[in-house]
């Protein structure tokens, strides 16, 4: 690492810390909201195939929409700022979570469900005690994919004034300030890698518990 | 004539501390089927794969027609050796015809000759080219895929074939049929074949000579007959199994024994005629043949209770027939499934050859011992 970049990290540590917190904050909030909505939609889709045939292709199409375009489309509704960025990130996190919830539930061995029914468990109990626990590793894998993905996309929400580490990159472009850009890039990538490893570890410990 | 000779062949996989093949010495005679048999991991596949240099041996020599296989360019070596593996390895993106043509294309045969040859090969293994050439492997049953695998290996008429559990992935009935068909082909082709299996019944049925392996070593190399009567040690006798008389049934083919012939009637014959025939037969059965002489069914006392003026109205359609290459072991299983105390044998064209009864099987085993 060259000297000026190092200096940048040292002298701007307060700014960097603030931006990291903003970045992590918006990502965590978005993922939390997406888990609530996504798991619900995924569960509903697993019960109502008509719903599944609408929701799954729709989330799939949303994924192909460029992030800057999606954020742009919300501007007339939500204006610029945190809310716009948050909603954009929630939408991107939905697909992996909805799809993995749906697949996780659908791939449970039919025999297990039948056994639960045979023992007289109500559908609600089956969902809470059998389906969700068994689908959990798959759902968690979806959460991981979503988190890693939107950690990167969150760099772009700065363009609509939602803050985060993307600020460093946009400001760096505006001032042709290479160290600032590199610092932003490194921090965003590190956050992405950390999220990936952290959630992978969580998945692993969960699978181990279950087996 | 010795076709393939293994001389002090050793194989040690890199990073492994034991020998996968430990000093193999063996001679395979021209035109014979040499079976490699033994428990899982004993080195059968490895021995086979060293022959066409899919694996390179660590030391020793493998001679083919007296030439060390290391002195032959691997591509050339392999083009002259048919190869069928357990997973069959059909190419899923190619049609059946293209699969069978693989080696011919590699050998740069002209297109029209390839086409002709492919049709010939598919017919040979009993697949109608009209129906199957343009299909892909995914559109075939397990048994049909095995046939394509064999057709593909035979296409360029290689003098040597390597077959690793070629009939491993199908149900026992299909397997028996494929084995019989293959033996019939081999009778004409007279190829030198190295055939891996871990099914001792298959080994006894198919092999001219059987090589029993264990821990990478050759334990006994003998004809099926000798293997049954003179197992070299306890390991071989336990592999062959306790019930050796039953195993011996694998050695005898239906074509090897004399058969009793029940009376025959034609489809168009009257009921009175068949009543007479059934009454006069010691097994209480009459065989029904069509106008080309093929066995189509049987009439027994139960069938006679049915209403109808002619044989064709009352006979029971034939099923579970045995062919000339079926072993007495196969025949016995069919008989037990059939529940009749006898099984009906037909020849290549499907014409009746007679009935094999339990007594026939007993006396054949006694003569053979």
């Amino acid at each position: 690492m060259n000297q000026t970049l190092w200096d940048f990290f040292i002298t701007r540590q307060d700014l960097l810390l603030e931006l990291i917190l903003e970045h992590v904050g918006i990502v965590l909030l978005a993922v939390a909201i997406a888990i609530v909505i996504g798991v619900t939609l995924g569960l509903l889709s697993s019960y109502y195939s008509a719903l599944a045939s609408i929701i799954l292709p729709f989330t799939q199409i949303m994924m192909t929409v460029p992030s800057i375009a999606l954020l742009a489309l919300f501007i007339p509704i939500f204006g610029t700022g945190f809310l716009n960025g948050l909603i954009g990130l929630v939408i991107y996190s939905l697909l992996p979570i909805v799809r993995n919830t749906y697949i996780g539930i659908k791939e449970i061995d039919k025999g297990i469900i039948e056994a639960a029914q045979g023992m007289g468990m109500s559908e609600r109990r089956i969902l809470l005690k059998v389906k969700i626990p068994l689908a959990l590793p798959v759902i968690l894998a979806g959460v991981r994919t979503a988190t890693v993905m939107i950690t990167g996309i969150a760099a772009i929400v700065s363009a609509v004034g939602a803050g985060g580490l993307g600020e460093l990159i946009f400001r760096g472009i505006a001032r042709t300030y290479r160290d600032m850009i590199i610092a932003g890039t490194i921090l965003i990538s590190l956050l992405g890698i950390a999220a990936d490893y952290g959630l992978k570890a969580a998945e692993r410990s969960l699978t181990k518990q279950q087996s | 004539m010795i076709k393939i000779k293994y001389e002090n062949v050793v194989k040690q996989f890199p990073g492994s501390d034991h020998l996968a093949v430990d000093n193999l010495n063996m001679e395979v005679h021209e035109g014979e089927i040499c079976i490699l048999v033994g428990p899982s991991g004993c080195g059968k596949t490895t021995s086979m794969k060293m022959t066409n240099r899919i694996f390179e041996h660590t030391s020793g020599h493998i001679y083919i027609d007296g030439v060390d296989n290391r002195d032959i360019n691997p591509i050339e070596l392999r083009l002259g050796i048919g190869y069928v593996i357990q997973e069959i390895g059909l190419f899923p993106h190619m049609t059946i015809a293209d699969n069978v043509a693989t080696v011919l294309v590699e050998k740069k045969w002209p297109k029209n000759k390839i086409h002709q040859r492919v049709e010939e090969m598919l017919n040979l293994v009993g697949l109608d080219p009209e129906i199957y050439s343009k299909r892909r492997p995914s559109g075939l049953s397990g048994g049909q895929r095995q046939r394509v695998g064999v057709a593909r290996a035979l296409a360029s008429d290689p003098p040597v074939m390597l077959m690793d559990e070629p009939f491993g992935a199908v149900d026992p009935i299909t397997r028996a049929r494929l084995q019989n068909e293959f033996l019939r082909l081999q009778e004409q082709m007279k190829k030198t074949i190295i055939f891996v299996t871990h099914d001792i019944d298959e080994a006894i049925k198919m092999g001219d000579r059987i090589a029993v392996m264990r821990y990478g070593q050759l334990v006994q190399y003998a004809t099926p007959d000798d293997l049954l009567s003179m197992p070299a040690n306890d390991f071989v006798s336990s592999l062959v199994g306790g019930n050796r008389s039953i195993k011996r049934l694998n050695l005898i083919k239906v074509e090897d024994i004399d058969l009793y012939r029940p009376p025959e009637v034609a489809e168009g014959d009257s009921k009175t005629k068949v009543v007479e025939a059934v009454a006069g037969d010691k097994l209480g059965v009459a065989l029904v043949v069509d106008d080309r002489g093929k066995l189509v069914g049987t009439v027994t006392n139960t069938d006679l209770k049915r209403k109808g003026e002619y044989v064709k109205d009352i006979y029971a359609p034939a099923h579970d027939l045995v062919g000339p290459k079926s072993t007495l072991r196969d025949t016995l299983s069919i008989m037990l499934g059939y529940g009749e105390g006898y099984a009906l044998a037909v020849d290549q064209e499907g014409k009746p050859r007679g009935a094999v009864s339990v007594d026939d099987i007993f006396s054949a085993v006694k003569d053979n011992e």
Binding site: I61, T64, V65, P66, S67, I68, A69, L70, L71, A72, L73, I75, P76, T151, G152, I153, A155, I156, A159, G166, I169, F170, G172, I173, T176, Y177, R178, I181, G184, T185, I188, S189, G192, I193, D196 | N52, I54, I75, E76, L77, R78, L79, G80, I81, Y83, I85, Q86, E87, I88, G89, L90, F91, P92, H93, T102, V103, E106, R136, S138, R152
Partner: protein
């Protein structure tokens, strides 16, 4: 032929045309009208598509060759290293790559193409190597056992079998590149992103929305076209 793909292709095309006509007729003010006219929009499309096309084409050539190379037995040790590099590189946002190249190569179209190309390499490389590695060993061994040369094994067995997977990588890569190209406007490379970026800086919602809709529809259109191709290559 997949009906759903076709419907999306037609719908996204028609919607794009409708969007262009709407915003040209109702640009929402004089300032926005300077960008919302047929000429400027056509030019933005040209730049955008050219960026995507050049970057993707170059990425396909390089990634497929590289993918073939690292799956040769000689390089087998490299395959997992390359996999790891690709995984880590994918956590870098496309915006960051554009920004970094901008500091070295300056503003403009060619900088953007270079950055997009580099970013587009990853999914294609990963899918090429995965597509070839996932072919069942029995198939390759049969080919070898029958005396096929290494070249023929590659061209007649490995590549045709990996093609649908490679095509999937190309599709992912193109979709990402369309999105990244919309960001290239921040480093002065033009494209449909110009509408969004200008709209944001002068606070004209019509510009922002027009740019958003058109680039979204372009991504959907290309995604569906490539999905259709991928589907037709799949081995049944």
């Amino acid at each position: 032929m997949n009906r759903r793909n076709l419907i999306w292709i037609i719908v996204s095309f028609l919607l794009s045309v409708a969007t262009i006509f709407y915003f040209v007729n109702y640009p929402g003010g004089k300032m926005a009208a300077r960008l919302l006219n047929f000429e400027t929009i056509t030019k933005a499309y040209q730049q955008h598509i050219l960026m995507v096309f050049v970057a993707s084409a170059a990425a396909i050539i390089v990634s497929v060759s590289l993918g073939i190379l690292i799956t040769r037995p000689f390089f087998s040790k490299w395959a997992s290293i390359v996999d790891n590099i690709v995984n880590i590189a994918q956590t870098i946002p496309s915006l960051a790559i554009l920004a970094l190249f901008f500091t070295y190569l300056g503003r403009g179209f060619s900088t953007a193409i270079f950055a997009l190309w580099l970013y587009a390499l990853l999914p294609i490389l990963r899918n090429t190597s995965a597509g070839i590695q996932n072919i069942s060993p029995g198939i390759i061994e049969s080919a070898r056992g029958m005396g096929m040369s290494n070249l023929h094994i590659l061209t007649r067995i490995e590549l045709p079998l990996a093609l649908p997977v490679i095509m999937g990588g190309i599709r992912t890569s193109v979709v990402i590149t369309v999105g990244a190209a919309a960001l290239a406007s921040f480093i002065g490379a033009g494209g449909l992103g110009d509408l969004i970026v200008t709209g944001l800086s002068v606070s004209r919602n019509t510009l922002v929305v027009a740019g958003g809709i058109l680039s979204a529809l372009l991504a959907i259109f290309l995604d569906q076209v490539l999905d259709l191709i991928e589907d037709s290559l799949r081995i049944r």
